[in-house]
């Protein structure tokens, strides 16, 4: 039996310990805000926070996440929209939107590490997250705006 905290709720799981966190969140818990895009840590659609830092949930097993605190897109705005989400809305970032949960989780994590990110920091922090619709320019603008706001 593994213990894992997801969005502030303590849970126990006795299924396959190798089950990637992504599928535990999506298929077992029904937290479908976190997306599947590649299953190989290549696209970032599955990004969640583990103890406050962005990780790829598709390559993190439930057993590896045991004892950790996991936060998903569903809980990032529990006290009203996060400033990053606000800027995403203000800049009309999403097209299809499928990648955006992962982009937002990644951006929040980036801004924690680099509150005033340069273009290179943004490239470095965000280039693991693919947006096939091509919203990168707006993502960059929204991150800069969020950085301005939280400073």
């Amino acid at each position: 039996m593994m213990q894992i905290k997801v969005n502030d709720v303590a849970r126990s799981f006795d299924g396959d310990p190798n089950l990637p966190l992504l599928w535990y969140l999506r298929d077992v818990l029904g937290l479908t805000g976190t997306k599947f895009g590649c299953g190989m840590a290549l696209c970032g659609a599955c990004t969640v926070h583990q103890d406050g830092k962005a990780i790829r949930s598709c390559v993190t097993s439930v057993s590896a996440a045991a004892g950790k605190e996991i936060t998903t897109i569903e809980a990032i705005s529990k006290n009203g929209l996060h400033v990053v989400q606000q800027k995403w809305i203000e800049y009309n970032v999403p097209q299809c939107g499928y990648c955006q949960s992962g982009q937002i989780m990644q951006a929040i994590s980036l801004l924690k590490e680099k509150p005033r990110p340069s273009d290179e920091d943004i490239d470095g922090g965000m280039s693991g997250n693919i947006c096939r619709c091509g919203t990168y320019q707006r993502i960059r603008a929204a991150i800069k705006a969020a950085a301005g706001e939280q400073a």
Binding site: T32, E74, V93, G128
Partner: protein
């Protein structure tokens, strides 16, 4: 209203209550209850008090229900099409609820492709809006006992001008519903000056849900008691299962059973590919189970398909006379006279859509009827395909359209929805079929590989007096009919027979090619390779005579005029747009070239070493687009795109905000095509599998800034989802030539290597 179907929706999906055994979570998975129309007996709009059309219903509380009959895949159709109706109705957008239509022929075509949702919807939506507005106005006039001509709408209320009396739409709905629906001839459309939303820019109806993880994609559809399926498809098109291990997959925890799926009967059309499905209680267990299937395949005839060899064949064919699809003057006689001849070959490989959300569908079959939830660009095609596969009438197939995590043409083909339906029937439970990224890359309906041969005779000023263009590609028709080797009029009309150059002797040809994989529509379709060849070659000619690229391009387009394409290409279909409404107008084409060049500072800026600008122009989906790309190429040949300037004349633009986003996105989509996109096959098996070997543009590779300039126009609306793609690759390659002197004739760069 059938109880059965109502119960299905009550079982969790629509309310978003997910039960996982003893643990019951309340997760909202849909933006709101209206996200999918609830029953086949009707939509919320149908159940409203006033419902003058299938697209709109108005209730006594003033809520306006608008039906989005086209799919949302990121292009904003679900917002922009209902927005037209809301504007004409003079409705308050804040009191509008958008309801996604199920597949139903009463909405007309729901096929969301070809960049035509706004174009098709413009008149229909305005008629529906004007009808409702007139009925409300008449009801108000009746109520106050005044002439209708003294009443008018003003944002969700009707006003009696002389007395300033007002009545809200909700208040008037019941009385309006008793009036006869007015005739079309009696409708009056708002003048452009009175538009509230059209041309102003409106953000996506689903924006907040998309930023909070609440939006409901196909991947997110759930039903109580459902199981997950993953399918091992034949690695070669047309392959069949010889044998497989039924037992081994069951060793994987969570795997429940394996089910064979029969191979398709050629032509493949939208039929499932066949193979073996693994059913499990989560997606991942189903993926793992597949690894133990150990399928022996009978690969069939396509196992001899090798991309290297095939490329040579296409290129050979492109060097031979083909079928003439357009002819002006006499190219042969002109060439025979001799003079300066320039010729070049171009090549674009197979491409995969790689939508961020891979194909996925949920189906629930019971008692001869099936309900499907699918991210589909065409719910009516889902009904037809599923009906045929299950041997039931299509009326017994209910298709709910979820949001799409990208479409790009892949999700016009509902093979994955048919798989879910077949498996639900076999298992006796709701089944969600989940494609992995590997499945998506290996089993696509690919954008055709194409070889083009171009040849021109130029005079002393460098202007062509004869121009021959030939393209060869496996046609999309091969998906629908056996032995189809030539492109149809539609494909040839995508940037080939309609090249608007002013050349006295001009011939376009098409050579035959067999398909060995599934070929399908892909964002902007044949325009991609046709524009790449035509616009690169035009630029080669400019440089060959030492001319400025923009000036030369304008000279090629020639004076402002309307071109009657049919006169030289009788089969030309002009994207099904009437030549009267949507003429091929070189004045508009010239204007976008001039605008893009001006905004880019063409000829006015000094470009540093390794930097350059390139231009390309193309009309597709009835929209004129010119793109100037700036590139920087470093010593290692690495290409960066610091800026893109795109000028667009799409006629009347309903949603400028969404339009701008589409062109920004097209530049990134185009970057993937230029830099890295290539699908290849060996012994009939696709060699790529995921984003490591089929890379798509990432943030550090994408254009740093794409600026979009829209031409103000009163022309009828044209497409915006696709037209940004075709001119992008040639603009970048022309820029690379300006920067380095290296001509790119083959895509992607990673194969062509700008680095030499």
């Amino acid at each position: 209203m059938s109880d059965n179907i109502l119960n299905v929706s009550r079982r969790g999906f629509l309310q978003g209550i997910v039960s996982t055994g003893a643990l019951v979570l309340s997760v909202r998975m849909i933006p709101e209850v209206l996200w999918a129309a609830e029953t086949s007996a009707g939509s919320h709009a149908d159940r409203a008090v006033l419902r003058p059309s299938v697209f709109v219903g108005i209730d006594t509380d003033g809520t306006v229900y608008l039906v989005a009959h086209r799919s949302e895949m990121g292009t904003s159709s679900r917002t922009s099409v209902p927005l037209i109706l809301a504007d004409e109705l003079d409705a308050d957008w804040k009191r509008v609820k958008i309801e996604q239509a199920m597949g139903d022929p009463r909405y007309g075509s729901q096929d969301t492709d070809g960049s035509h949702s706004v174009r098709d919807g413009f008149t229909t939506m305005r008629e529906a809006g004007a009808t409702a507005r007139l009925m409300l106005t008449q009801a108000a006039a009746q109520k106050w006992g005044v002439p209708v001509s003294e009443c008018e709408s003003d944002l969700h209320v009707i006003v009696h001008r002389p007395s300033k009396r007002k009545a809200g739409y909700g208040e008037l709905a019941s009385a309006a519903a008793k009036l006869p629906v007015p005739k079309k001839e009696d409708l009056q459309f708002k003048p452009k000056s009175a538009w509230r939303y059209i041309g102003k820019g409106t953000s996506s109806y689903d924006l907040v849900d998309l930023c909070t993880g609440k939006a409901g994609f196909g991947m997110d559809a759930r039903l109580d008691g459902m199981v997950y399926a993953s399918i091992e498809h034949p690695p070669v098109l047309g392959g069949k299962v010889k044998s497989y291990d039924e037992k081994a997959p069951l060793q994987v925890k969570g795997v429940k059973q394996t089910i064979p799926i029969k191979p398709f009967t050629p032509p493949h059309h939208f039929q499932p590919l066949g193979g073996v499905a693994v059913i499990a209680d989560n997606s991942w267990a189903a993926f793992q189970g597949r690894k133990k299937l150990n399928v022996a395949w009978d690969n069939g005839a396509n196992a001899s398909y090798n991309s290297d060899q095939y490329k040579k064949e296409l290129q050979d064919t492109a060097r031979k006379p083909g079928k003439v699809v357009r002819n002006i003057g006499d190219v042969d006689t002109a060439f025979a006279k001799g003079g300066k001849v320039i010729a070049a070959d171009y090549y674009v490989p197979l491409l995969a859509h790689a939508t961020m959300e891979p194909p996925v569908a949920l189906a629930d079959y019971r008692d001869g009827k099936v309900t499907v939830w699918a991210p589909t660009q065409n719910p009516q095609a889902v009904q037809e395909t599923v009906g045929e596969e299950l041997g039931i009438p299509k009326e017994n197939v209910t298709c709910h359209v979820t949001l799409l995590g990208g479409g790009f043409g892949r999700k016009s083909k509902p093979d994955y929805a048919a798989e879910a339906a077949i498996l639900s029937k076999a298992v006796g439970k709701p089944v969600k079929v989940v494609w992995s990224r590997e499945d998506d890359i290996k089993f696509g309906y690919y954008h055709a590989v194409a070889a083009m041969y171009m040849k021109a005779l130029v005079d002393e000023k460098g202007k062509p007096t004869a121009w021959l263009q030939r393209s060869v590609f496996p046609p999309i028709g091969s998906t629908f009919a056996l032995n189809t080797t030539y492109g149809d009029a539609g494909e040839m009309g995508l940037g080939w027979t309609d090249l608007p150059f002013d050349i006295p002797n001009h011939r376009a040809e098409n050579g035959p090619a067999e398909n060995h994989v599934r070929i399908g529509w892909f964002r902007s379709v044949a325009n991609i390779y046709h524009a790449f060849a035509a616009q690169s070659f035009a630029n080669e000619l400019a440089h060959a005579s030492g001319r400025d690229s923009v000036e030369y391009l304008l000279e090629l387009i020639g004076p402002a005029r309307i071109i009657d394409v049919k006169a030289s290409a009788p089969d030309y279909d002009n994207y099904d747009g009437s030549p009267a409404e949507y003429p091929l107008d070189t004045a508009r084409m010239r204007r976008v070239v001039e605008l893009a060049a001006e905004k880019a500072g063409w000829g006015k800026r000094k470009m540093g070493k390794g930097s350059g600008m390139g231009i390309a122009v193309h009309r597709s989906f009835l929209t004129y687009v010119a793109t100037v790309a700036e590139v920087e190429v470093d010593d290692k040949g690495e290409v960066k795109i610091p800026a893109v300037h795109t000028a667009v004349d799409a006629g009347t633009v309903v949603n400028p905000e969404a339009t701008r986003a589409q062109f920004e996105g097209a530049a990134v989509f185009g970057t993937s095509i230029v830099r890295s996109g290539a699908i290849t096959a060996k012994n009939g098996v696709i060699e790529q599998s995921n984003f490591h070997d089929y890379p798509v543009a990432r943030m550090n590779e994408a254009p740093y800034k794409t600026s979009v300039y829209m031409v103000d126009s009163d022309a009828p609306p044209a497409g915006v989802g696709e037209p940004g793609v075709p001119p992008f690759a040639p603009a970048v390659c022309n820029a690379i030539f300006a920067a380095t002197g290296k001509r790119i004739r083959e895509l992607p760069l990673s194969k062509s290597s700008a680095n030499t």
